[in-house]
Symmetry: C2
Subunit: 292 residues, 2 copies
């Protein structure tokens, strides 16, 4: 069994990005600049935005966090987004979700300029991804592709089960892995809450992407011998630790690892790859190219 070590790979990728940034500076080009918009005081959102600032710092990007109270008007927020869209000083723009209920997330997403949409949430980027055109791919699927590529995991003609059909993980993952590309050319089955024979589908999967958000849902009895297992789930469960919780993936790591050929740990697998994928997208946005 080989560990798909997202921590190691993301560190290498960050070093590469940092070198690219140094070169950009040496060439007199502007430094990539990520602006994050944060509305309200959600604890998890604060953490994510802090991570993004830290990552930007590590790779040498400029980073701005614009904070607004959760009472902000939708129109005011959209105006801020339009202002950032027009600001040539900003390469990439993300709006941390969730937003307060009185604000339409879809409206916010569609107001972000597709050229700065480094989260890949704008329908234009989603459509280009679907059609196999250059686009910004959302960070989790983009990070998983990087990880599979790094380890040279064979994908062509493999059966792949994607558990979960969310717009930001399961659905793009299924589409990307079924495209004529590498990583890709898989025969993909997309599973969800209505799937009746989930275990059968999993047992036929050479590659299994678990993105359900259901802690330790996938056991060894659902895994084909030699399968590649990618665990996207990260759920906080109460535990007698200093923080008061521990992180659990969708996969029962120990027993599944015993059968798998490759497997991502939680934490240290998909999480850091997601973070570095956002940095890659931001670099691409600064270079006025798409990341894929």
């Amino acid at each position: 069994m080989i560990l798909l070590d997202g921590k190691k790979v993301s560190t290498e990728l960050k070093n590469t990005i940092a070198k690219d940034v140094s070169k950009m500076i040496a060439d007199g080009k502007p430094v990539p600049h990520l602006t994050a918009v944060l509305v309200g005081k959600d604890g998890a959102s604060e953490t994510y935005v802090n991570h993004k600032e830290k990552d930007c710092h590590e790779v040498g990007f400029r980073s701005t966090v614009l904070r607004f109270p959760d009472t902000i008007d939708q129109e005011r927020l959209l105006d801020e987004i339009r202002r950032i869209n027009a600001d040539s000083d900003v390469s990439g723009l993300i709006v941390q979700l969730p937003l307060p209920k009185h604000i339409s997330e879809q409206k916010v997403i569609e107001t972000i300029s597709p050229d700065k949409d480094v989260d890949g949430f704008h329908p234009l980027n989603a459509g280009k991804m679907l059609l196999g055109l250059p686009s910004f791919v959302s960070a989790t699927p983009a990070g998983i592709l990087e990880l599979l590529k790094y380890y040279g995991v064979e994908t062509s003609g493999k059966n792949c089960a994607v558990l979960g059909r969310s717009n930001i993980v399961g659905r793009p993952m299924a589409n990307l892995l079924s495209q004529k590309s590498y990583p890709g050319d898989c025969t993909v089955t997309i599973c969800h809450s209505r799937t009746k024979n989930l275990k059968d589908v999993c047992l036929q999967a050479d590659i299994l992407i678990a993105a359900l958000g259901s802690p330790e849902f996938v056991g060894a009895d659902m895994i084909k011998h030699g399968a590649v297992v990618v665990d996207v789930g990260i759920t906080r469960v109460p535990a007698a630790t200093k923080s008061g919780f521990r992180l659990l993936g969708d996969v029962k790591f120990d027993e599944v690892a015993a059968k798998a050929s490759y497997i991502t740990p939680v934490p240290g697998g998909v999480g850091p790859m997601t973070r570095v994928a956002l940095m890659k997208n931001t670099l691409a946005a600064a270079q006025k190219i798409y990341s894929r």
Copy 2:
């Protein structure tokens, strides 16, 4: 076995559209108007455009065909598209593909206003479809959904195999049928040229969508008893008929029909549903709403 009779259903839907148009006229609203752009003298393209004109005539739409020689400059063609985009008199705009090699089809598609893109080929419409947002869905998958709905075919939790991953049929079909909707909520497997165990996947399918363009590829040995079989393939093969050819689907109709619960004939199945779906999209465009 029940025939999924696209000819009958499309006729009923056309009657409904015609009534809607009469009502629009009675209400003093403008008549839906489809403009087709045809470049060069491709025989199949001429036929398709003639069908579209005939369909428009039947449902009471206005129809315009703009013909250009295959020597037209790309920029000149894009200017024509921009002019039609700006023409409030036109509800829907399609550019018949293929185009001559010196013209970028992608550039042409992306120049069509998404609000008039009744073919649903623009990446913005593809993305909205993917994300489950209101959009124009390309005519073949839209027509198939109408057909399944008309016959009340159960889809929730069913295993569905989609054979073919094209951007205009297989891929949207797979995404639509896996969405939380009706028809939808299927466990979808998308198969293609690299799929190794195609027969196994087909044998597990409660619903099989064949969109390979490979005449009579799917035989009874690949079909589960009681499966719903939708045949998208239409290939002309030479034959001793008046026209010199006959149309073959991707499915060996007689032997597969003997095992299926529902099946589309070729011709008279998906073909007429595709045609009426374009009319539905055009009506929706005229009403300034999306068709789905």
